[in-house]
């Protein structure tokens, strides 16, 4: 049996797989951020709170209405998306002509409010969410025991990421989106309803956050604070990938998950900083991120 740097390969595979799963969350969340930034030029600090809303949405469906996980996967993201649409219509819309800074500050404030309310009403120790029977148990892959819940995360997020990428890069709707990112006025002058497009895009980005939240509910504690620290990391992912780059955020999300996974094996103490170290390095070498278009 050979070993890599003193680590048996099966352990390494296991850790890489776990890293990839973690990367799935980064990918879905940063994808949402990238979509929103790409079209609205808003740095959506509320994203963490919206991720939390997704998890709570699943929890509420189960506990108040008895609606199970599989339904929640389809119901919750649109609902969270609608809350995003309301925010966009009522508040965010007023900031498009301003510097990024203001969008960031507004959404930061919104995040404080949303998280504050949830803490007020649901406490902070977190709530249990019982995974559906299908997600209990797991497979023994030989090199590790892979819980079904994790396998599902990886499958679901890959599907969603690919679908989003396909819609944006390969369809007519995606062409509208990309064009509107560059020059909304002209796209409007072609007869396309750009404000609606913008609203729906925000809603979609937020729905992605909600989707990640639903995925997280059976795995992590459903807790008002669950998005607060994650969001900073996800920002780093988006910046490394290149702000606004769809493919960049997906690849970087999965990639950083892997790197973080490796760090957890070789230098666990550093696993929380590694992303920031990479971000600093990347930005110093490639100012617009790995996949960003230079400005």
């Amino acid at each position: 049996m050979f070993e890599l740097l003193g680590i048996p390969p099966q352990v390494l595979f296991g850790q890489l797989l776990l890293g990839l799963i973690n990367g799935s969350f980064y990918a879905v969340l940063s994808l949402g951020l990238a979509v929103i930034f790409g079209l609205l030029n808003i740095i959506n600090f509320t994203h963490g709170a919206q991720y939390m809303l997704g998890a709570f949405g699943a929890w509420m469906l189960l506990n108040y209405l008895g609606v199970g996980y599989w339904w929640a996967v389809f119901i919750v993201p649109p609902i969270v998306g609608v809350t995003g649409i309301v925010l966009e219509r009522v508040l965010i819309r007023r900031l498009y002509h301003l510097d990024h800074l203001y969008g960031l500050l507004l959404t930061f404030g919104l995040a404080l409010i949303i998280v504050g309310f949830f803490r007020q009403f649901f406490g902070v120790s977190g709530l249990p969410y019982r995974p559906p029977p299908l997600l209990n148990g797991g497979y023994n892959l030989g090199f590790m025991y892979l819980p079904n819940s994790r396998a599902w995360v990886i499958v679901a997020s890959l599907i969603v990421c690919l679908a989003t990428w396909f819609i944006i890069e390969k369809t007519r709707l995606g062409a509208y989106l990309r064009a509107a990112t560059e020059n909304p006025t002209m796209v409007g002058a072609f007869g396309i309803n750009v404000p609606l497009l913008v609203t729906l895009t925000y809603g979609f980005g937020v729905a992605l956050a909600g989707f990640a939240g639903v995925l997280a509910a059976p795995i992590y504690a459903v807790n008002p604070n669950m998005g607060a620290d994650l969001i900073i990391v996800v920002f780093a992912v988006v910046v490394i990938g290149g702000m606004g780059s769809i493919l960049g955020s997906i690849l970087t999300g999965f990639g950083l998950g892997l790197i973080e996974g490796l760090t957890r094996v070789f230098y666990p103490e550093g696993s929380a900083v590694v992303i920031f170290v990479i971000m600093a390095l990347v930005l110093l070498v490639k100012p617009a991120g790995l996949f960003g278009r230079s400005v």
């Binding site: 977190g126 819980p147 819940s149 504690a221 669950m226 620290d229 957890r264 103490e269």
Partner: protein, 376 residues
């Protein structure tokens, strides 16, 4: 005499559920049960949120002592804040009834003549879980440790206990704090083959780690999971499905006897259906004891009251009989609990079975070992 009690704790952060509004309710109940007004003691209670920030906490404490004539501060979860309040209380010569904090430094190198450390501390947790688990056959350990001073201390203390009791420590992995995903650390713990996986962390970290341990089948695989700092509310949050089999040390369980059940029922009614945590119980008992001392002294002078509190044995419905040591340590029994399986639980909050009782004289760090300057 007019007495003003300040309940300082976390009303918005990760400890809000184990020591937030509930602690204020517990203090009020102590005042009511003591029938203070009948005894000529006029008690008022104020409360504030320290947000787990030492500077916020110390600012409030100072302001309370300096401008609002607060005589005693109770609770204060989060060790960093408690250590700050400990210093200020000493400087201002008031009284600190520490129920919330974990750091055993409060009765060790940071000990103060003005502080009583009531409910638990890291040494007691490490000792309880470590020695009792080894005694139950859990003699090989692997730690999943939060990578900061608190986690390191828990790991260090528990390792010492485990080794002293004849067990051995196979390894440890340090995870970033706060963490959300523990899967890779748990996998490493699983790979170590240790009989006990010790979680040397707290709050959300522990909750997530336990949840994910169940996902990865750690306990089903035959390893025992020991949370070194965990509260009943955390178990409530996790649900028994996930938390079953988990082992933890505590100072109080609501379902221990009739007296605790009676108190807890009353408390639950006033606290949105939540049973008391050991910290809230500690707030109740410590305030009660303080008021008894004030009554006995007939004055609220800090030195005199403290002397009385240490001289007088404690007795309350929640912790039974006990004493307060020269270094400020309150002594009582500690318990090793195991979380029940879902089918064993008959009612909400019916979560623990008691695995072992650690007698008061064994439960806490020996007086001589703490390095407290008050101990000659």
């Amino acid at each position: 005499t007019d007495v003003k009690i300040g309940v300082l704790n976390d009303r918005s952060g990760i400890y809000a559920d184990i020591a937030g509004e509930g602690s204020v309710i517990a203090a009020q109940m102590a005042v009511e049960d003591f029938k203070a007004t009948d005894k000529g003691i006029n008690v008022s209670i104020v409360s504030a949120d320290h947000q787990n920030k030492p500077d916020v906490g110390s600012n409030i404490a100072r302001q309370w002592y300096d401008t609002e004539n607060v005589d005693v501060i109770a609770d204060v979860p989060t060790s960093s804040v408690a250590l700050a309040v400990n210093e200020i209380t000493k400087e201002k010569n008031k009284i600190f009834l520490a129920s919330g904090p974990a750091s055993s430094d409060l009765t060790g190198k940071a000990c103060s003549p003005n502080t009583v450390h009531w409910t638990y501390d890291t040494w007691a947790l490490a000792n309880g879980t470590g020695s009792a688990m080894v005694a139950q056959g859990g003699d090989s350990w692997f730690f999943v440790t939060a990578d900061y001073a608190f986690g390191h201390a828990l790991e260090r203390d528990t390792s010492a206990v485990v080794e002293a009791s004849g067990g051995k420590v196979l390894g440890a992995v340090r995870h970033p704090f706060p963490g959300q995903d523990f899967s890779s650390f748990l996998l490493q713990a699983q790979g170590s083959g240790a009989k006990v996986v010790g979680l040397a962390n707290a709050g959300g970290d522990t909750i997530n780690a336990v949840k994910q341990a169940s996902e990865f089948g750690i306990t089903q695989g035959g390893q025992a999971l020991a949370a070194l700092l965990m509260f009943i509310n955390d178990v409530h949050a996790l649900g028994l499905e996930v938390a079953q089999g988990l082992v933890l040390t505590g100072a109080f369980y609501w379902d221990k006897d009739d007296q605790t059940r009676e108190f807890s029922a009353r408390f639950q009614e006033r606290n949105a259906g939540q049973k008391p945590s050991m910290i809230e119980a500690g707030v109740y008992a410590s305030v009660l004891h303080y008021l008894k001392a004030v009554e006995a002294v007939g004055d609220k002078d800090a030195a005199k009251v403290m002397a009385k509190m240490k001289e007088m044995p404690t007795e309350d419905p929640l912790f039974g009989k006990g004493t307060i040591r020269a270094d400020g340590r309150k002594l009582h029994d500690m318990y090793l609990f195991r979380v029940k399986k879902p089918d064993q639980s008959k009612a909400p909050w019916d979560y623990f079975e008691t695995v072992a009782t650690i007698p008061a004289d064994k439960a806490f760090r020996p007086l001589a070992e703490g390095g407290c300057s008050l101990v000659k």
